[in-house]
Amino acid sequence: MTYHRAGRLALIAFCGMVLAGCNTWSSANVELKTKGTDMETASAPVAAPAAAPAETPKSAADIIFTEKDITDRRYETLADLEVTVNKTTIFHADPTKELVAEKLKEEAAKLNADAVILVRYGTVGVGLFSWGSLDGKGRAIKFVN
């Protein structure tokens, strides 16, 4: 009986230590836009759609990021992105807009996009699986000549 209780406590302590290591976890949803057809939905990770073969892969740091539109360059839409960042336990810090922005950029980089435009955020609160959940949306675009 005492062994059982001690074992359970050890398990809880172990889980606590493991969870304490990861402050947040996240998920992403990418709605690919294909030319001449309706949208298709894919769960991340997603392969870059028809990128030029010689193009070097983008990193998140290369992605232009704005809450507005880009009006001085022509572009095509690659995908509508939606990401959610969750905190692991009630004791961790709430997810921030910066974390959501970084995740959006990462998803855009996977698509080899040039920018994420029209970015918008939700508000931190209790989610279905987390005590602190924050989501963000944006449109991944690629400039055309």
Partner: protein
């Protein structure tokens, strides 16, 4: 008898979980506006929904209005954030110790709908900005 007690306790656990989920819950990011790209017909179609007051604005006024909305958003977000600690504490107490503590949770519904209204206005401003072919602001 034991079975009945067990089932009633699992119902209460579910109710508490539901109450916590509803109280102080996250607000989702508003949906993205329709895709405009460089299609003039799509821009004209989107402009139909834009209020007349925005249509009459100059590019400079639109930019100023977008900045004002950003400031108002920050104020509203701070207001929600200020309640966050209290909400989490009340939710935790309600879930673990004392169910009526759930009534102390403030969902900030009014503030959240103001944020949604701001985003809708911002989307209208962005459409007008594109329709007027305003210069890029970078």
């Amino acid at each position: 008898m034991e079975k009945a007690v067990r089932s009633s306790s699992s119902i209460s656990v579910c109710l508490v979980a539901l109450a916590i989920a509803v109280g102080g819950c996250a607000r989702n990011a508003p949906a993205l506006p329709p895709e405009l790209g460089n299609d003039e017909a799509a821009i004209a179609k989107a402009m139909v929904a834009v209020p007349q007051t925005i249509k009459q604005m100059s590019c400079k006024q639109i930019n100023l209005e977008i900045e004002n909305l950003a400031q108002h958003d920050s104020y509203l977000e701070e207001k929600i954030q200020a309640n966050r600690g209290k909400n989490q504490f009340a939710g935790y107490i309600a879930g673990v110790l004392f169910l009526p503590a759930i009534f102390a949770v403030d969902n900030d519904d009014g503030t959240k709908s103001m944020l949604d209204e701001n985003q809708l206005r911002r989307d209208h401003l962005v459409i007008a900005y594109r329709a007027k072919e305003c210069p890029a602001e970078n």
